[in-house]
């Protein structure tokens, strides 16, 4: 199963759950299965511009990328604010 790890604000929105184990064949399928999918993806299904997604340590630009069963997906918010 792929593992998805959320940052703090998204984990709070997911009822306090930070780590999700999912069966998904693509990155889009994994993100869409999360209870915070609407915060990661906009109404067109595009990844929001300041949401960065890493698969096994590599920045993923394409949601169609296949996921291996052991994949670890990390959601990282762009550094911004003040």
């Amino acid at each position: 199963m792929a593992v998805v790890i959320l940052p703090g604000l998204l984990a709070a929105e997911a009822g306090g759950q930070k780590r999700f184990e999912l069966t998904a064949t693509t990155l889009r399928e994994a993100l869409s299965a999360l209870p915070v999918a609407d915060l990661l993806l906009d109404e067109r299904g595009d990844v929001r511009s300041l949401v960065h997604v890493y698969v096994d340590g590599e920045r993923a630009q394409d949601l169609a990328v296949p996921l291996v069963a052991s994949a670890q997906v990390r959601i990282v918010a762009a550094i911004a604010g003040g």
């Binding site: 998204l10 915060l39 109404e43 929001r48 949401v51 918010a77 604010g81």
Partner: protein, 350 residues
């Protein structure tokens, strides 16, 4: 009573006694979110907040326990055929008393939503989304935002919205169609046509709850009042306020001739006038204005949602993190050192 205070960094409940002399701050809640506006629905006591995050976008949260816990609206967005995407949420308004569960939501880019299930789902208003004048709308400093939604309590089909910088629009058919209602209001930043049909930069629009044909607006280019539901507007800021520019506006539910404003120096210097937080009030429908000073010296700002009222007092929250109550002629500090205050709404304590 409580003040629902939206800030750049979370939501606070500021709870006051009956005399509006003593206040306690509870919170923050919804940490990590920027709260452009928060309201209590008088029909069921639920709280709603326009929640925004620079990474995760704009949405709405709802609380049934006075703000301790919140649930998010999922899937809020604009239809694909619009070729627009929702950028942020700005204003929530409970629907007409005859429509329990109905709420209105304003957002960016100049869009209006309606919910008929207490905020669980929202439907975009096509009349605003596809308005024939949309190509003449342009964003103000805060974006192209629908920030004011004000209802006629005597007629569920009649309401007004304010969009910066598109102006005021009125519907008489529950939102199916919208007519511009800007006659007499100036777009002073347009050198060629300062009185266009649309394009005015309304900053805050309110209908008086007891006399809904009487509308007030604080505009980029003046303070205005209409006595005919927005057919025509009369300018009021040449009667003793130090600047035509400002955002905050409050009314008295028992007196349609009363209003409060907090003018700012101008569009290029958005701080309160004359180095103080000056609250100007009228009791004669804008014929004259009286100053009360909340803080001096001070160079603050009170934003469009930063002023509210109930039947005892008027309240104002500043971008410098202070909240004031103006009650029986006295100004009381209700909260200090909050994050920058974006919105204040007075409500009964749940």
């Amino acid at each position: 009573m409580q003040l629902l205070v939206g800030t750049r960094k979370g939501f606070f409940s500021v709870r006051g006694d009956d005399e509006r002399r003593s206040f306690d701050v509870a919170g923050p809640y919804l940490t990590g979110w920027t709260i452009n506006h928060a309201i209590a629905d008088p029909r069921d006591g639920a709280l709603y907040a326009c929640t925004n995050n620079w990474v995760y976008g704009g949405t709405v949260h709802r609380s049934e326990d006075g703000g301790e816990t919140w649930e998010r609206t999922e899937g809020l967005g604009l239809p694909e055929d619009s070729e627009l995407k929702l950028a942020s949420t700005w204003h929530l308004e409970p629907g007409h008393p005859s429509q329990p569960g109905t709420l209105w939501l304003g957002g960016e880019p100049g869009v209006l939503f309606r919910s008929d299930d207490s905020g669980a789902t929202w439907e975009v208003n096509r009349g605003v989304l596809e308005h024939p004048t949309r190509d003449r709308w342009q964003p103000g400093a805060g974006g192209l935002i629908c920030h004011s939604i004000t209802l006629d309590p005597t007629n569920a089909d009649r309401l007004w919205i304010g969009i910066s910088a598109a102006g005021v629009f009125r519907t008489e058919d529950g939102g199916a169609t919208w007519q511009p209602a800007n006659t007499g209001t100036e777009a002073c930043f347009l050198p060629d046509d300062p009185f266009p049909e649309v394009g005015q930069c309304v900053h805050k629009l309110l209908a008086h709850p007891g006399r809904p044909d009487r509308l007030w607006q604080q505009n980029h280019c003046g303070i205005y009042r209409s006595d005919d539901g927005g057919e025509a507007w009369e300018r009021l800021d040449e009667n003793g306020v130090p600047s035509p520019f400002g955002f905050a506006l409050a009314l008295d539910p028992n007196d349609p001739d009363a209003a409060w404003v907090i003018p700012e120096e101008g569009a290029e210097n958005r701080v309160t006038c004359n180095g103080r937080i000056g609250i100007y009030s009228t009791r004669d429908a804008g014929a004259s204005w009286k100053l009360q000073i909340a803080q001096e010296p001070a160079w603050a700002a009170v934003l469009r949602e930063g002023m509210s009222w109930d039947d005892r007092a008027v309240y104002a929250g500043t971008q410098s993190g202070f909240v004031y109550a103006l009650c029986d002629g006295e100004i009381v500090e209700a909260a200090r050192h909050l994050p920058p205050v974006l919105s204040v709404e007075a409500a009964p304590l749940q």
